[in-house]
Amino acid sequence: MFENIGEMLVLFWRTLMALPMTWRQRHKVFEQFFEIGNASLLMVCILSFFIGGETALQTGPFLAERSFGGYLGGIVGYSVCRELAPILMAILIAGRIGSAMAAEIGSMRVYQEIDALRTMNINPIHYLILPRLVAIAIALPMLVLFAILVGWVGGAVVSAANNRIDIPIQAFFKNLQEVVQFRDVGNGLFKSFCFALIIGVVSCHQGLVTIGGPRGIGRSVTKAVVNSIVLIIIFDYILTRVLLK
């Protein structure tokens, strides 16, 4: 385990050192960025709408019964932007994009494509890892920003439509505006940026250390997703603790 962590840190450091090459690899960054956005945007919208709605549904009736319904916008807004959107989108992207990264790099490793790159003096970190890491580090916070907005809308719609809550959309957003500050959204986006780095590094590392045939690739994909999710949850606690007001 410690060997893996060490290797991932080395991979991360080498990719950071390669950052000046980003402009040269911009086409690949854009390709990856498009891939991530295209593969996930619809799913992000659906998921975040229901997350917002479900949060409102869980807390709304409880607050409304005690005449605290006016605070619902703030509660939903705050929990979606600081916690739910960043972590759930990160888990979604770990499953969709992290697995694809591990599978693609893993199969390139197994079928000697990475060796072929090395014989041509092409650094696999510049060619494969850097574009993926940069793309996911930009794309995930953008998806999370989208998820936050859609999540709020989901919360507002459910609050207005559910008879037991019955809070008008304007009142929901008025309270949300009073409670949620730009700083809270910024915290959520910062968290998602950290989660993106975790998904990118873990998945690319798993791809690079793949051995064996198709079974090895399958094993790497599973490990990439599971390890990413475990690390995301651990880092979520650490970041929440650090960013707590």
Binding site: M108, Q112, E113, A116, M120, N121, I122
Partner: protein, 256 residues
Amino acid sequence: MSAPDSNHDGVGVEVRGLRKSFNGQEVLKGLDFKVEPGEIFVIMGPSGSGKSVLLKQVIGLELPDEGEILINGESIQSPDVMEKHRMAMVFQSGALLNSLTVGENVGLYLSEHRLKPPEEIGRIVAENLEVVGLKGTEEKMPSELSGGMKKRVAIARALIVEPELILYDEPTSELDPVSAVVIGEEILKLNKRTHVTSIVVSHDRELAFGVADRIAVINDGRIVAIGTPEEVKNNADPMVQGFLRADIKRPTKNNL
């Protein structure tokens, strides 16, 4: 990295006391041999004898546990030797990047190192594909090609580097006899045209005796015979003779 020039000769390769183990199992048990510049040197041996491992060490994909590999007298572990000498490898599977077209695969070295403008890369790619008999296949994906075509694309990709040393890992494996002959002829043509040093790893006897200037036979991580094709053919070692003359014996009624 400078642009490859078209006038180049092969490099000399010397392997001294090479040893390599994986998980405690010794695969290479002290190999010593020398390949002269411009020579086609074939390494033969049964599967699992360490041939491909040797090739990976020669091009620097793996480091030896003991011993050294010298390119024109300089160790490949010296900082700039891999930059100084152009080397290429044709992998057993071809190892084409499946996400790129044939043309992008062949021109990858030039485009990634920005050695030529895109139009010139396109022209050079077309020329190299024509050399290996695959004119007009630039836009195809590797998945659309047969095994033999993939290997020829891999050779075209290696040619782009204008290599001084080219390594072939089982170039005729999984090919039909006609495609195998085409690949053998490509190796010879390339050697004649550019005087590139070629190291070919294979257990294909026809290919080995058809292209080799010299042959080494490896068994169990050691060289058991080395010399010209004639010398190897006449080698008295039972393993060498067993390997070279291996044949299918039809069962008779008595030994069924």
